[in-house]
């Protein structure tokens, strides 16, 4: 693929805490082009850890090993902290899970977005403000002038997440890692936010890594899906083939979703097989 942005080959992440070692990610390999790649799995399956490893956001004691961790012309494994600082936010940015904890509670949201822009661009404050207002409009916020001056506790969860997206996208990154960006949003707003992300991915030829636990959303939104369980990729398939998934874990996740059209007195609960941990 000529548009290859990211190559990950057998990535392993171990968290070391004294003598205790947690092997959180085991031999994960994938490539990312100009596309939307989903990583799905439950909490604790290591999907967020993969996203964070790409930005080296883990504590210093964490051991990250891989055969290759290549982002464009940069080898992320050997990149210095200074080089990483140039990449974070500007070339790869990350939309975090929860706007409530990710936004600074005592700074106006508009100023927080401007700060992200000013950190990577030489611009005056008023220019930055203009950019921020434009960006807020792009993420479908009515009345951006008013929202600019609000504090995080004054905006709803959905709006908070759109503000996060505005903040992460304002630097025109090449790759966006979205860590459950829509799990706090309503169905009606969700589509808008997803459309915004989609527009940007297409328009600015970005790559998107979409970390989620929502299989149905992923099936309709992304191009490819990696299914993770206990640190391993158990299945990798095209999003449109998800209903033909073969791994019992993927099938279990699909069955556990409550559905409007198929009402059942009880939802089937995932039965875990210890075999999944080894094969």
């Amino acid at each position: 693929m000529s548009t290859l942005k990211l190559t990950v080959d057998s990535l392993n992440v171990r968290f070391v805490n004294g003598k205790k070692e947690t092997h959180a990610v085991r031999d994960v390999s994938f490539t990312l082009g100009r596309e939307k790649l989903a990583i799905v799995g439950e909490s604790g399956s290591g999907k967020s850890t993969v996203g964070r490893s790409l930005l080296k956001l883990h504590p210093g004691s964490t051991q990250i090993t891989a055969k290759a961790l290549q982002f464009g012309d940069v080898d992320l494994l050997s990149a210095s902290e200074k080089a990483m600082q140039k990449i974070r936010g500007q070339r790869i940015s990350m939309i975090m899970q929860d706007p409530k904890y990710s936004l600074n509670p005592v700074v106006k949201v508009g100023e927080q977005i401007a700060e992200a822009y000013l950190a990577h661009h030489k611009a005056s404050r008023s220019e930055a403000r203009e950019r921020v207002l434009l960006m807020l409009e792009k993420v479908h916020i009515r009345d951006p002038g008013r929202v600019y001056n609000l504090y995080p506790h004054e905006v709803s969860g959905g709006m908070g997440q759109r503000i996060m997206i505005a903040m992460m996208v304002i630097t025109n990154p090449e790759v966006i890692i979205a860590d459950e960006p829509t799990s706090a949003l309503d169905v009606s707003v969700r589509q808008q936010v997803l459309n915004v992300l989609e527009e940007l991915v297409v328009e600015q030829q970005m790559g998107l890594i979409f970390v989620s636990h929502d299989l149905n959303l992923v099936r309709n939104y992304c191009d490819r899906v990696l299914v993770m369980y206990a640190g391993r990729v158990v299945e990798s398939l095209a999003a449109c083939d998800l209903q033909y998934a073969e791994h019992p874990y993927t099938r279990g996740l699909l069955a556990a979703l409550p559905s409007m059209d198929n009402r059942r007195p009880r939802l089937p609960v995932l039965q875990r097989d210890p075999l999944w941990l080894t094969c």
Binding site: E42, S43, G44, S156, G157, G158, M159, S183, A184, L185, D186, V187, S188, V189, R190, Q191, L194, N195, E198, H213, D214, L215, N216, L217, R219, N220, Y221, C240, Q243, G252, L253, L254, A256, L257, P258, S259, M260, D261, R263, R264, P265, R266, L267, P268, V269, L270
Partner: protein
């Protein structure tokens, strides 16, 4: 018997020019033993209705009653024996430095209920945990276990009404299925009345018999969840919600997201 009743409930925040009315004449009736869902997007006022019933907002106007007893603006202790609430975020709703035991003991102390150890053990078993969890802290539990503790915390006073504010939206699908099953079982066993707020139509049609759709502080439509899944909704907004939810659901073809 009518369990929860709200008549022309109005609520506004701020005064003068900054006055923002968030609830407009909300009428709501939930029968005893029923499971009622409130759906709508963020900011539609669905959680606000719950908060009025739970006594977190006290400057509402209109009439509210629980099990026939009208609500005063200052709520009595007895009210909280009848009505308890489960919050959205199990990470935020449990005190990080209190053990599960402390968290569950506190309501018992406030209400002067005896046999506290037995009650705590009982309630933990009821929500699918056991007494080994008693002396743990919230950070030592998974999200699903924390939500079970939050449900236990609400049920320990043996209420008749449970107000559920998006109880599963912070959880994984596999854990969500477990919690939804637990809530369904508890309702049957304890004869509880549920008033649940959610934006997930799949969840609401799974757990609730009746649904009210809210938009901008008004109830725009009331219907059975059966009717909801059979596309019998009349209001445009409801249809939009159903459509938006269908776009992500299993049976639908890929959406052209232009």
């Amino acid at each position: 018997m009518t369990m929860i009743q709200a008549q022309s409930l109005n609520l506004s925040f701020g005064v003068g020019a900054a006055c923002n009315q968030v609830l407009h004449d909300v009428d709501l009736t939930v029968e005893d033993g029923e499971s009622f869902g409130l759906v709508g997007e963020s900011g539609s006022g669905k959680t606000t209705v719950l908060r009025c019933l739970a006594g977190q907002y006290r400057h509402w106007s209109g009439a509210l009653s629980i099990a026939g007893a009208p609500l005063q603006h200052k709520l009595s202790k007895e009210h909280f024996r009848k009505v308890q609430m489960v919050f959205q975020d199990p990470y935020g709703s449990l005190h990080p430095r209190h053990t599960i035991d402390t968290a569950l003991r506190e309501p018992l102390t406030i209400h002067g209920m005896g046999e506290r150890d037995d009650r705590i053990n009982d309630i933990l078993l009821k929500v699918g945990l056991n007494d080994s969890f008693r002396y743990r802290y919230p950070h030592q539990l998974s999200g699903g276990q924390r939500q079970r503790v939050a449900i236990a915390r609400a049920l320990i006073l043996e209420p008749r009404v449970l107000l559920l504010d998006e109880p599963t939206s912070a959880l994984d699908v596999s854990v969500q299925a477990e919690i939804l099953n637990l809530l369904a079982d508890l309702r049957q066993r304890e004869k509880l009345t549920y008033l649940m707020v959610t934006h997930d139509l799949g969840v609401v049609s799974h757990l609730c018999d009746k649904v009210a759709v809210m938009q901008q502080g008004r109830i725009v439509e009331r219907l059975d969840s059966q009717a909801l899944s059979q596309d019998l909704a009349c209001h445009d907004y409801t249809r939009m919600l159903v459509q938006a939810s269908r776009d992500f659901s299993a049976e639908s073809p890929r959406v052209a997201s232009a």
